[in-house]
């Protein structure tokens, strides 16, 4: 009994010690999930809402299964990490990108399960998270309806097909676009287990990493990624999915 009491007190103390030193600032979007996501994603790191984090989205979610998002934080110095999230999605984080040798810029497409804030949280070298974003209205079911290729039944015939292209963006920079055929199953559809691309690595011709992405099931089926890497010449990339399959390619060879 005494031991149990000591244990309980220890737990309370431990819980108190993990309370963030400073709470995240009040959310200008008034999201019901902001405090939860902020505590989980940012911990004790400082957080600011920053107009230099541009989240460029269309004004209408025409297709809640494929909603385009471009994040552009090129006016922020020393960006280390970009997290794309939709607060009210059942899988809130879609992409967690570390642009080691790339501009702080990424475009992709996500699923929307309902009206939600769509945000980018961009961490700079000093540890501060800079957050931007806006609400988007959406019909339901982006995460909980089966993907088109599951309905058609041909997903396995095309799994891992890659299309890619590269364009000179500026001095020493290359725009890279990569698309993969993949069902990106969320696990939220009856009798279809979660199955998604979970990691993408981009390298220059010498094998140096230009960027790494953690990718989650809320990225749209047949995912597409657009990044701006600080390299020219051959650029290679590899995706790995949750079954351990690897899909690799290169452009500019």
């Amino acid at each position: 009994m005494k031991r149990a009491l000591v244990f309980a007190i220890t737990c309370v103390a431990a819980a108190l010690s993990t309370v963030p030193a400073r709470a995240a600032p009040a959310d200008p979007l008034g999201s019901p999930m902001w405090d939860h996501h902020a505590a989980r994603l940012f911990g004790k790191d400082p957080v600011v809402f920053d107009s230099r984090v541009a989240v460029r989205i269309p004004g209408i979610a025409e297709n809640q299964r494929v909603f385009p998002v471009t994040i552009d934080a090129r006016t922020l110095p020393d960006v280390r990490r970009i997290v794309l999230l939709a607060d009210l999605n059942p899988i809130p984080v879609a992409v967690d990108y570390r642009p080691a040798g790339a501009e702080p810029f990424i475009a992709s497409r996500i699923k929307l399960d309902q009206r939600t804030p769509v945000r980018a949280a961009v961490q700079t070298g000093d540890g501060t998270w800079h957050v931007g974003g806006t609400w988007i209205d959406a019909a339901g079911g982006g995460c909980s309806a089966p993907p088109v290729s599951r309905v058609k039944g041909d997903w396995a015939d095309h799994l891992g097909e890659i299309r890619a292209g590269r364009w000179a963006e500026g001095p020493g920079e290359t725009r890279l676009r990569i698309t993969f055929r993949h069902p990106m199953d969320t696990g939220l559809v009856e009798n279809i287990a979660a199955y998604n691309i979970e990691h993408v690595t981009i390298r220059d011709g010498d094998g140096r990493s230009l960027g790494e992405m953690e990718v989650f099931g809320s990225v749209a089926e047949d995912p597409a990624f657009t990044v701006l890497v600080k390299a020219t010449g051959t650029i290679s990339f590899e995706a790995r999915d949750t079954a351990g399959l690897r899909f690799a390619g290169k452009v500019g060879a």
Binding site: R56, I57, P58, G59, I60, E62, N63, V66, P68, V69, T70, A107, S108, R109, R115, T134, W135, I136, D137, A139, G140, E161, I162, R163, A164, G165, R166, W167, R175, R177, T179, D222, A224, T226, G249, K250, V251
Partner: protein, 301 residues
């Protein structure tokens, strides 16, 4: 952002539909929709309708978005013509044109067979989407499948003669109707006027071919699916111009390496300045066409 922060306390109560008729020819009226996106504030009343007086009752071309909308259009037709609606035509599947059929006996609702098939497939989904956006405006609106099949050719109804045209391209089935007596062409959504065309079920080559047929059909005035009456024949050309621009712009965007949201931000040429909802429809068209264009134009490794 449309309807983005619309709080239920502010806008849960639907208003009343108050359609206004504009006499455009002898016994022919046009009812203008709002040149906007479907939104709670406009009750979804964004499509144009037309009313034609006949001895067998009023002809209503496109009965609106909801049962209440259809009832209001029916009452308006009765006031104008002195007879209840005797025939309803649905130009194509889209809910702003079709779902108001719920206000009428299915036996008098006619459409192309392709449109009925479209509604059998997509009606439930449209219903869900409209109830989500329009809430109480939709009350009592069930899906009514047209019972009358129409086909290309001349028909007589209530002492008037109409040329029906079975076209496609905006959707799988696009009905156009020419009132022979007045030369009034009811073009449905094959023709938009000073309002950007929408493309959710479009086949652009088919749409262009249908526009060719409409422009070759002699007519005095044209009631477009959206936007003001066209008396000078400019609306068909404007619709063709926009579709051509969208297609070329999106192909170029894919070829230049832009992603979808970047393509949706591209500048819209000044000569489209008169088109309402242009940015909105460009962004919708990006969603409709971009994945297929990428599959065609991005090199496969």
């Amino acid at each position: 952002m449309t309807a983005g922060r619309c709080c239920w306390r502010e806008c849960s109560l639907a208003g009343k539909y108050t359609p206004v008729a504009e006499a455009v020819a002898d016994g022919v009226w046009m009812v203008r929709g709002a040149d906007e996106a479907i939104a709670f504030a406009n009750g979804g009343a964004i499509a144009n309708s037309a009313i034609i007086a006949t001895a067998s009752g009023a002809l209503l071309f496109d009965p609106g978005v909801s049962r209440e909308h259809g009832l209001a259009l029916g009452a308006l037709a009765q006031r104008l013509t002195g007879k209840p609606v005797g025939r309803v035509y649905i130009s194509h599947l889209h809910p702003d044109h079709a779902m108001g059929a719920a206000a009428f006996d299915p036996a008098i609702v006619h459409a192309l067979p392709a449109t009925r098939a479209d509604l059998e497939r997509d009606g439930e989904g449209f219903s869900d989407a409209m109830y989500r956006l329009l809430a109480d405006w939709m009350k009592g609106t069930a899906i009514v499948l047209p019972q009358g099949d129409v086909s290309e050719g001349d028909i007589g109804f209530g002492g008037r003669t109409f040329r029906l045209m079975a076209l496609n391209g905006h959707s799988a089935g696009d009905l156009a109707l020419l009132d022979q007596a007045t030369g009034t062409l009811l073009a449905g959504d094959l023709v938009f006027h000073d309002r950007a065309p929408s493309t959710p079920h479009a086949s652009l080559p088919d749409w262009r071919a249908s526009l060719q047929r409409l422009s070759a059909l002699p007519h005095a005035l044209l009631v477009p699916g959206h936007g003001p009456l066209d008396r000078d024949g400019s609306a068909i050309a404007q619709t063709r111009d926009w579709l051509g621009w969208v297609e070329q712009t999106l192909r170029d965007a894919v070829a230049r390496g832009l992603d979808m949201s970047e393509a949706g931000e591209l500048p819209i040429p000044p000569h489209f300045a008169s088109l309402k909802a242009a940015r909105y429809e460009l962004q919708r068209s990006v969603s409709h066409f971009y994945p297929a264009l990428e599959a065609e134009l991005l090199p496969k490794l």
